[in-house]
């Protein structure tokens, strides 16, 4: 009988000690914020276009982390990002959902400066402050900062903003992958047998 009590006492003591240790560790090594949201956010292209239905990339990342949004709602990220998200979250890959848009090559907005009336509406719409100008002064887009989100197009009352595809330059040019290898034909065994 005593043995059983000892055993229970020892196990209980062990439980208390280990529990205290775990409790300490959980406060001592507490992770601030949600690391998963950060990881998802770092994959997203930061276009801030809202095509996914969320007001920016981070809110979409939060929704994905909470399982409230699918991983295929980001057209600027395209197929490559869906693969990356699927790998990160251990989910099945699915093609880009068409209701959110289609994948396009990288574009930047361009303001036709002779048409611009200086209404500042596009400046207010730009999520990354890439448009400079003042009231009744011509506006212009800082192409290096433009994410190509197209949010400045609808507010423009004179339709002077167009999207232009960014071409390859010497700075962005990439070496192509060398051609695929030749497949060595497998000869039927009979030829050898006949030769022999």
């Amino acid at each position: 009988m005593d043995n059983i009590l000892y055993a229970i006492a020892v196990m209980a003591l062990g439980g208390v000690v280990l529990g205290a240790l775990l409790g300490y560790a959980s406060t001592r090594f507490k992770v601030e914020g949600d690391p998963l949201v950060d990881k998802i956010d770092s994959i997203l292209p930061q276009t801030q276009c809202g095509q996914c239905g969320f007001p920016g990339c981070r809110p979409y990342a939060e929704a994905i982390a909470k399982d409230e949004a699918d991983i295929n709602q980001c057209p600027p990220g395209g197929d490559e990002n869906i693969h990356k998200l699927a790998e990160l979250l251990g989910k099945e890959y699915k093609p880009l959902s068409e209701e959110h848009g289609i994948e396009k090559p990288k574009q930047v907005a361009y303001i036709d400066e002779s048409t611009c009336i200086g209404c500042t509406l596009c400046i207010q719409a730009c999520p990354v402050d890439a448009i400079v100008g003042a009231a009744k002064q011509m506006h212009t887009i800082v192409a290096d900062l433009c994410t190509g989100c197209e949010l400045c197009i609808p507010p423009c009352p004179v339709e002077c903003i167009t999207m232009e595809t960014v071409g390859e330059t010497l700075d962005t040019w990439k070496w192509k992958k060398p051609g695929t290898r030749r497949v060595i034909p497998i000869l039927p065994v009979t030829t050898t047998a006949q030769a022999a």
């Binding site: 990339c57 070496w175 060398p178 060595i184």
Partner: protein, 550 residues
Amino acid sequence: MKLFSFKGGVKPDPNKTQSTALPISQAPLVARYVVPLHQSVGGTPRPIVQVGDHVLKGQRIGDADGWVSAAVHAPTSGTVVEIGPHIIPHPSGLPTDCVIIEADGNDTWIERVPFALESAQPESVREYLRDMGIVGMGGAVFPSHVKLSVPKGKAIEQLIINGAECEPFITCDDRLMREQADEVIQGSALFGRLVNAARVLIGVEDNKPEAIAALKAAQLTLGAPVEVVTVPTIYPTGGAKELIRVLTGKEVPGSKRSTDFGVQVFNVATVQTAWRAITLGEPLISRVVTISGAVGESRNWQVPIGMTIADLVTLAQPKPDADGVIMGGPMMGFRVTTNDAPVIKATNSLIVTAPGLFPPKPQELPCIRCGSCATACPQELQPFELYWWSRASKFEQLEKYKLFDCIECGCCDYVCPSHIPLVNYFRFAKSEIQAEQREKHTADAARDRFEFREARAEREKQEKAERLAKANAARKAAEAAAAAETPATENLAEAAPDLSSHPHQASTPIAVDNHPVLDASAKQAAIAAAVERARIKREQHGAKSGSDAS
């Protein structure tokens, strides 16, 4: 002097004797020069001339953009006819902004002023070299003035002047050392002074005995504090890291700079050009170019930067079966996409190809894991591992195998029995990784700007709310203060008549004892007064219309 050696390397057929027999010849004037603005590593120079401007030989036409950048100059006198995109020698075949000059045939120099070196600060020497367009002429075109600034707390133990010229077919440095030995020696001594080097070593491969003899003779006559060192001929001794290894035994990892180990390397042509810039005031407007291969006359030419490849190839009388041009050597060079592209500061050699001279590379076969590439790699990498990961596009693995330590010398390609274009795989992987880093960088910047904008909007909202609250409080306080003063100056009875006409002021007597009930009654009184006024108005109006009707 004790020499060291590096692991691996190959011994391709040098093919140098064809072009070393004849001395360097000045290329004749042509009608049109295409001078690219972006010719060095770093920022793209801004054009400082306009279409229609007349320029003189040696006049600056592009100003360095930032510290890591170098100016460009007009190669001859003439008129600027165009500033716009033109194809340059680059594996992509993409155009970049060039200044196109139509020569006037006089080749008139701008006034050349030697630089007062003795009275100059080190900083102004570097600025001068930047404005003279001095860049590394071994092919890397890194701005030389940047390499001349030694990091704080570091001293240069050995300054290495690279005259190894290990790549087959290229002999421009060889001929330069033979013909301009004194300028090379003086340039080396000058750079030694500029970086305060303890020793200056000129490394030359032992397959250039004439160049070594000329340099040694010039060194003896000038008594300059430089040493001419003969190094064994093995490709790629001319690689900066390999030459450092051979001459000093120091091994520089890809993540560090050679200055961290007390070494700096310059090409012989670079020090010679810099010396001319300082003592004669001549900017970098021409360079020695070897032209060889399927041509009638293989030799070296002093070519103005901007002369088209087509013009230069014509001078060399190409053979009828010539089918293309390689810029650089057969190991590291690339095929130029069009002969309209100009000679640039990086063009050390042009090889005219023909099917007999450079047969097409046999079909790529599977890797048989023989390990020859690893034995040949002078950087002690494992090219086969790099190849597998590059082919599978598993770029994160390539960091582990030190892809960026690869100098793309092509030794692995040369020995591969399966004819795998290994270097092309590494170039592909490198550019993919760099593009990914660029994208990540822009995405991070966009995120920062977005978050900043959000924070600013939030702050503005708060400030607006605060301003509103403050204005409200101020108004209340003012009212209270006014109310406190009123009874002392004004009679309540006198204020009373105002009640009807000025409802706002009417609240004053009520606020005296701060009683809400009174406030309400005053309001009611004001409303009543207004209603009364309206009634009187209506009655008057009614009477008037009534009289009109009658």
